[in-house]
């Protein structure tokens, strides 16, 4: 069958009027319930006009970030209290990281050895570089160029993961949960957002920019993180209490920095990585 332009359009409209679409669920009630449990929106005060939905990134990255756009436009600081945590932004996320607010408190384990966080094989920086598929970034910030320990896990996630551990020292207090001062993790994230799950049980989640790329800063009350694989099983039996944490993207990498550092210090270290 062949139809002239207008007839084809009419036929499509007619088809649309005769489609059997699924019934719309009662979203208003569900949304109202979620809003009741959540804080009011930020006042429209300083709201700078966003210059576009997304930062200038190559096409697929823009796609990866598309889901975040709404979050980025939302109030930059979410106060997470036990009562509201379910309701607030259930799905924040960067590539390779799925951030859940709320949820069950996992059982925590305290690492046996002081610097061994159970995150992979302990190796030299050079060996770590050889064993992963991406160029390993190292902080240029003074005092952080030489990690006290380097761990590599070449297989998980795909492409591998490298962790730098810095011993606690003056100016870099130990986390209240381990003897470690600072932990920096990097991996090449795929679009599968399931590698690291961060379960936030309290504190603040704040949207930040690291060298122009998106990130989140978690602070305040302790929260949890766990490594999980794409099937959801815990890797390395590793679930720990975490201190202040910055997660961010740098090119194809997703990075995480954790320690008893201020937001400013965390950003300074993060921006120095090259």
């Amino acid at each position: 069958m062949s139809l002239p332009e207008l007839e084809l359009e009419d036929a499509l409209r007619d088809l649309g009027a005769h489609l059997d679409l699924p019934a719309t669920p009662d979203l208003a009630a569900a949304v109202a319930t979620r809003l009741r449990e959540a804080p009011a929106p930020a006042p429209p005060a300083r709201a700078p006009r966003p210059r576009g939905w997304l930062p200038r990134l190559p096409g697929w990255r823009r796609l990866a970030l598309a889901g975040m756009a709404a979050v980025l436009l939302a109030a930059a600081v979410l106060v997470v209290s036990p009562g509201t945590r379910e309701a607030v932004a259930r799905r924040l996320g960067l590539r390779g990281i799925d951030i859940r607010i709320g949820g069950e408190r996992p059982t925590t384990t305290r690492p046996a050895e002081r610097l061994d966080l159970g995150v992979g094989d302990r190796v030299t920086l050079e060996e770590a570089r050889r064993r992963v598929a991406f160029p390993v970034l190292v902080p240029a910030a003074a005092g952080f160029q030489q990690p006290d320990a380097v761990f590599v896990n070449p297989g998980r996630p795909q492409g591998g993961r490298v962790d730098f551990v810095y011993r606690a020292r003056p100016g870099l207090p130990a986390s209240q949960f381990t003897d470690v001062g600072l932990l920096i993790t990097q991996f090449q994230a795929t679009l599968t957002p399931d590698f690291i799950k961060k379960v936030v049980a309290g504190g603040l989640v704040e949207e930040v920019q690291v060298a122009g790329q998106p990130g989140y800063w978690f602070s305040g009350e302790p929260h949890f993180f766990s490594y999980q694989d794409t099937r959801g099983s815990l890797l390395d039996e590793q679930t720990r209490l975490a201190g202040n944490t910055l997660v961010w993207q740098a090119g194809a990498l997703t990075l995480r920095l954790e320690g008893q550092v201020s937001r400013q210090e965390a950003l300074r270290i993060a921006e120095s990585m090259r």
Binding site: S2, D14, V31, A74, A87
Partner: protein
Amino acid sequence: MCETQSVEGRPLDDQELVEQARGGDARAYEALVRQYQDIAFRTAYVIAGSAADAEDAAQEGFVKAWYALSRFRAGAAFRPWLLTIVANEARNRRRSGRRQDDLALRVAEDRPSGDAAPSPEAAALAAEQRRLLLAAVGRLGEADRQVIACRYFLDLSEAEMAGALGCRPGTVKSRLSRALGRLRAAMAEPAGGAAAPLSRLQGGGGE
């Protein structure tokens, strides 16, 4: 204080509801949700391809839009802005989704049209033509199907289509006309023939 329920004969318009919602009035926002939940859900359905994902995406979109209200430009149209957020959610679910369910559309059985009652033969013929047309739409690539669905099935405006499809408003018209061209070609194919679905790859890119 603020009456959010539509008073008989004078429903509050979007602008007023949005203003009230921006001031933190959740009931005003609920009225907006009620007003737009249909189109939001359907848009999400066209993009995500499944009712469950569409519900999830639309709900999440409404919640995110609430938090983003402070950034909503006063005086701008609410509906395209909302649909953009909902469509982003839907696209996310489709991408991260386990299965790429293709949009499952069915022609409704005997829904009486507004016209004078047609003869049974004419009704059967019309239903058959709709099925053929729908089958041809189904043979198109995802991008073509979506642009056609947004325009003709959901009756979205150009600005809304741009938001929902994540493209620049200037490209909506040309996308649509290319999709129509390919639809015409798909209709010329023998239904159920060996011909591969037209331009699945070509249609996927957009520009």
